[in-house]
């Protein structure tokens, strides 16, 4: 059974999560992928304010397809997270509490997740039409010029995801595969 979770995540909710848990997320998430991460990182380096309050928030690594007329958003599945690894520890230091993507994270990111009590979720890569149904509203809030890569504020309802890295250092990619290796 999937656990229902409200976003932003509070401390207790994060501590209750374990690698392998299936969750349905409801609330606000911010989208950012390669180009937006680079800009956020540059702003932090320059000591400038970020275009959204990152503390306690969740970032979704996604670059959706353009919405058709009448659609809230186009297809919107996760992109490969490792491309964001370079920037993630800095964002976690700034108070980011969750990330949704797909695929492996670096050792530095895993360490930072434990240190800053955050969580890494995977959504099903390629289940982009299905996931788009969980997205209720979309608003571009920063870096408009980046198009699909701009930062969008999404309101989601019952967004399906799976916990990969928890605050205890759990790693579902490792544990899951170990259980089925022959």
């Amino acid at each position: 059974m999937a656990k229902k979770l409200k976003l932003p995540l509070d401390k207790q909710a994060i501590q209750d999560l374990r690698a392998g848990d299936r969750v349905l997320l409801s609330g606000t998430v911010y989208t950012a992928r390669d180009a937006a991460h680079q800009r956020l990182y540059e702003l932090i380096q320059e000591g400038k304010p970020l275009p959204f309050p990152i503390e306690n928030q969740v970032i979704y690594y996604v670059g959706p397809t353009p919405a058709k007329p009448g659609q809230v958003i186009g297809s919107a599945g996760p992109t490969t997270s490792s491309r964001m690894d370079k920037y993630t520890p800095t964002l976690l230091e700034m108070g980011l509490k969750g990330m949704i993507g797909k695929g492996y994270r670096s050792e530095e990111v895993k360490k930072a997740i434990v240190e800053h009590e955050a969580v890494y979720f995977a959504a099903v890569g390629g289940a982009a039409a299905l996931i788009s149904k969980a997205i209720r509203s979309v608003e571009v809030i920063a870096f408009h010029d980046l198009g699909t890569e701009a930062i969008h504020k999404l309101e989601v309802e019952n967004f399906p995801a799976i916990v990969i890295h928890d605050v205890y250092g759990g790693d579902f990619y490792e544990e899951g595969v170990r259980a089925f290796q022959q």
Binding site: G20, A128, I131, F180
Partner: protein
Amino acid sequence: MRVIRYEEIVEKVATMCQEANFELGEDMMNAFHQALKTEKSETGKEIISQLIENAEIAAREYMPMCQDTGTAVFIVEIGQDCHIAGGSLTDAINEGVRKGYQDGYLRSSVVRDPIGRKNTGDNTPAIVHLEFTEGDRLKLKMTAKGGGAENMSGLKMLKPSDGVDGIKAYILDVVRAAGPNACPPLVVGVGIGGNFERCAYLAKKSLFRPVGKRHADPDIASLEIELMEEINKLGIGPQGMGGTTTALDVKIEVEACHIAALPVAVNLNCHANRHKEVVL
């Protein structure tokens, strides 16, 4: 000499690009349903169910099954007795891709140059491979190839003495290293032989064969089956979260090669294994 009009190709290509992205083939749907029966991991089953539901939504609502609508890759079999009137074949394909991707609200995922990285805005240029055949027909085979799985592909120049064991070991290495990043369950395309660039092409070409269809040569066919079993023992499973369905199929194409060479290429495809074919 048969004449095929430029505009006809443009229209066909535009439709193919959209259909490939909206409708997953019957071969893949069957493979999903089969995997749902055999998968041992509960999470794995849940993921496969989501993929089935996802494909159904995409087909019903005419929306892309994946937000990475891919690079448009074509293998064109052109009969030597067929003439294209009104423009070049490459231009016609690119115009079709432009139209198909823009009208279909598909994502533009191509940058003009690999270092400057500015998006071309219309998903062109397509990647076009030509093969000449006898006759006067034009066959267009298209795949929308996603970046995640393509990025985890690999090629290695093995030594002839590495033999079949070396080939297998390398293929398993590539699949293992890809883990969740290539969006398993995968279709694994393998090229063996040829030379450096030909081998990569063979791997890509093998992916155009429908899932479940074995190679005509029984020895290659049994190597495909053997590899599939070994890959599924790796435990990677759907989305790399553990399970018994890592590959839905393995495809191999082989060709003659140099006496000193044994090139092997592994082109991974994700479960969004999008293919269309038309004959003009």
